[in-house]
Symmetry: C2
Subunit: 407 residues, 2 copies
């Protein structure tokens, strides 16, 4: 596996375009389109929130029932959530508009929205945006990059990644972009992720690879514990790499899944590290657990603990908060066996041995915790399973972004 430049247009046959449709933001692009002339197999995973945005419902239908997918139309600024039948109608109108211009069928167009909830989409601007983008579709890395910029809301950095692998002698590329940082206007954190590949793979294998992988990647990050109404991850595969089609969980499937995992992990970490107001990516590894599920529950409890997140902001080696969060996570473990380490580019230090604090240097710990990527490793000394979760620190700016918006 080799990391290469680019994002959603890195894989063969994928084009992108973006435009300033004026939905909410001034002086910036706020719509993007991804297109593959070759029909794609499509897999998707979506928010588990009972309150699902209209585009989530639309895409679930496309992923479940459409023969193929060709295009994705994304807008930032309005989430099209809690918008009732009117909002559902706008998904169809957007898809119809793109379908007509691209000469494809409406049910091969996916849509995604992020932004304010409760507001209806301004359909004239959305349709104008689609009309402006279609003639601009390009397969350049630059076009993909512009698309990644266009879907940002409170994100401070665009997020894209691409890798190459070789399957049955053919070069296969997987690339993706995503956005996600926290809440915007009076609204909810929206994570949107779009991954494209030219791999030839059956729809079933594609969905299985994605469904398995999100559990270890997107589902292991948290900025504020608030599950959005719009969370969407789409994976499109157009088969243009010409590899032998993956139809079983063979060696090629494993290689594909490894590459997909790298792409998704990278995108997920970019979101956690760019969490609203964050100054640091906070990674928590739980190792030597009895079972993977146990390790996942424990690592997620730590990265979602407000108190731990505030301590990370203060560069404070507050191991008591970490042990406390593990304790209330619901997972079983023996607190009196736990070893705890902090690690960053500034060094590594052990803080706890067998549940009791060592005589460590606070100064050294603070230095390690002052990096922009900080890792805590909890060694349970029980078995061989492990898991990693990613979050960020909790800062004044998180409050500022989410309290002051409308005042």
């Amino acid at each position: 596996m080799k990391q290469v430049k680019g994002g959603v247009t890195a894989a063969k046959g994928f084009e992108a375009a973006s435009t300033a449709a004026g939905i909410k933001y001034k002086d910036r692009k706020d719509m993007a389109m991804i297109f593959s002339k070759t029909p794609c197999k499509v897999a998707g995973t979506f928010t588990t929130n009972l309150v699902k945005a209209a585009p989530v419902k639309w895409d679930q239908e496309v992923v479940a029932n459409s023969k193929c997918a060709h295009a994705v139309v994304v807008n930032a600024g309005i989430a099209n959530a809690c918008t009732g039948d009117e909002g559902m109608g706008y998904c169809k109108e957007t898809a119809d508009c793109a379908a007509e211009l691209l000469d494809i069928s409406s049910d091969s167009v996916l849509v995604a929205s992020t932004g304010v909830i409760g507001k209806q989409l301004p359909m004239d601007r959305i349709k104008n945006g689609v009309k402006n983008m279609v003639p601009e579709l390009k397969d350049s890395l630059e076009a993909g990059h512009e698309a990644a910029l266009s879907i940002m809301t409170t994100d401070t950095k665009e997020k894209e990644i691409a890798v190459e692998i070789e399957l049955s002698g053919k070069t296969v590329t997987i690339g993706g972009m995503c956005k996600g940082s926290g809440m915007i206007h009076p609204n909810m954190c929206t994570m949107l992720s779009f991954v494209t590949t030219d791999a030839k793979i059956s729809k079933q294998m594609l969905q299985e690879a994605l469904s398995e992988d999100v559990k270890d990647t997107y589902n292991m990050i948290s900025v504020d514990g608030d599950t959005s109404t719009n969370d969407t991850c789409l994976l499109l595969a157009n088969g243009e790499a010409g590899n032998e089609e993956i139809i079983t969980k063979n060696d090629d499937y494993i290689k594909f899944k490894e590459a997909l995992n790298f792409v998704n992990t990278t995108l997920a970490k970019k979101m956690a590290g760019d969490g609203e107001g964050a100054t640091a990516l906070f990674e928590v590894k739980v190792v030597h657990a009895l079972e993977k599920e146990q390790a996942k529950v424990l690592s997620k409890a730590v990265i979602t603990s407000n108190l731990t997140k505030a301590a990370i902001y203060g560069h404070d080696a507050n191991w008591g908060r970490i042990l406390c969060a593990m304790g209330y996570s619901g997972a079983e473990f023996d607190p009196e066996k736990v070893d705890l380490y902090f690690e960053s580019k500034n060094g590594s230090i052990q803080i706890i041995e067998n549940g009791v604090a060592l005589d460590y240097s606070e100064e050294e710990a603070t230095k390690i915790l002052s990096a922009d990527e900080v890792t805590a490793i909890a060694d349970l000394k029980l078995g061989e399973a492990e898991a990693t979760a990613w979050g960020c620190d909790l800062t004044y700016d998180y409050i500022k972004i989410n309290a002051d918006y409308r005042s």
Copy 2:
């Protein structure tokens, strides 16, 4: 039921004392003692955190196996959590010291600690504190009030309450004090609550009343979602009111439980409203639910949502965040039936009808949300059950208290 002045010394036969033992804080009291010469039935509920502080383990043993209880010794400053066998030994030393001076048995002495975890108690100071307090024990309301002040950590207000009821022609009093606000030094939020009553009631009924009631009171508040290692609620009953002993769930039991509920609800709300950095108590009522459990899960999800809490700080009628939190709570409901209202001393306003925003005045909503106690009411229109949860807003000061402590 009549609210009366006082706290833990309001009920007949209960005395209190407090002292500045110098455990961590300078120039203030940091130890308290509650004593009843008449032996008490004792009920307790404790943290569900797997990492339990030594005093929690000690008290669980006393509640489960001791014939009676006479005294409670509390210290602020050090939590005696994650302190291993040494910490357990200090619980016994404290109880032994108090028992000798009070001429009672060690296993009738309860202990409670709140503060830094991982540090051992300075036993010389603790014992000196006990020695100083025993001769000072008084049944005055002032002595109870001083005790409530002594157990504070990051609390900004002392928390006490007392009520009177009449059972079988006798006046029965229930009074209590608690502390709880968030985390201190490198440590965890600790909620300690001590309720005394002169009611005559069997140990079994006492424990049942408490165990049932904490589910609707203390377990329905949250400051930061972090369950402490030290959470403790103790209820002592010395029977001095002389009422007919409550041994079944008769009318007297119901009256007693109503009064206990008022005491616990009041103390719990005081903690939520005095959450670290909080500027407002945030109450969430879910009404017309199918089942109480559903209403509880939904109301708790809203008060623990960081995004909602930040919006309350900003006086922002951010209904999308509330609906979002309800949606990811795990409880079933129909988002398209929900009505939502905000209420405070400044007025009342409906924001959503059947899941869709009304054309409400943002100005009016902001005025209502600017009070120091704010209520959101979500009407599910499904059945007759309801529940209430209490939290607070998420503010810059919460970050300051928890990030800057050691820097």
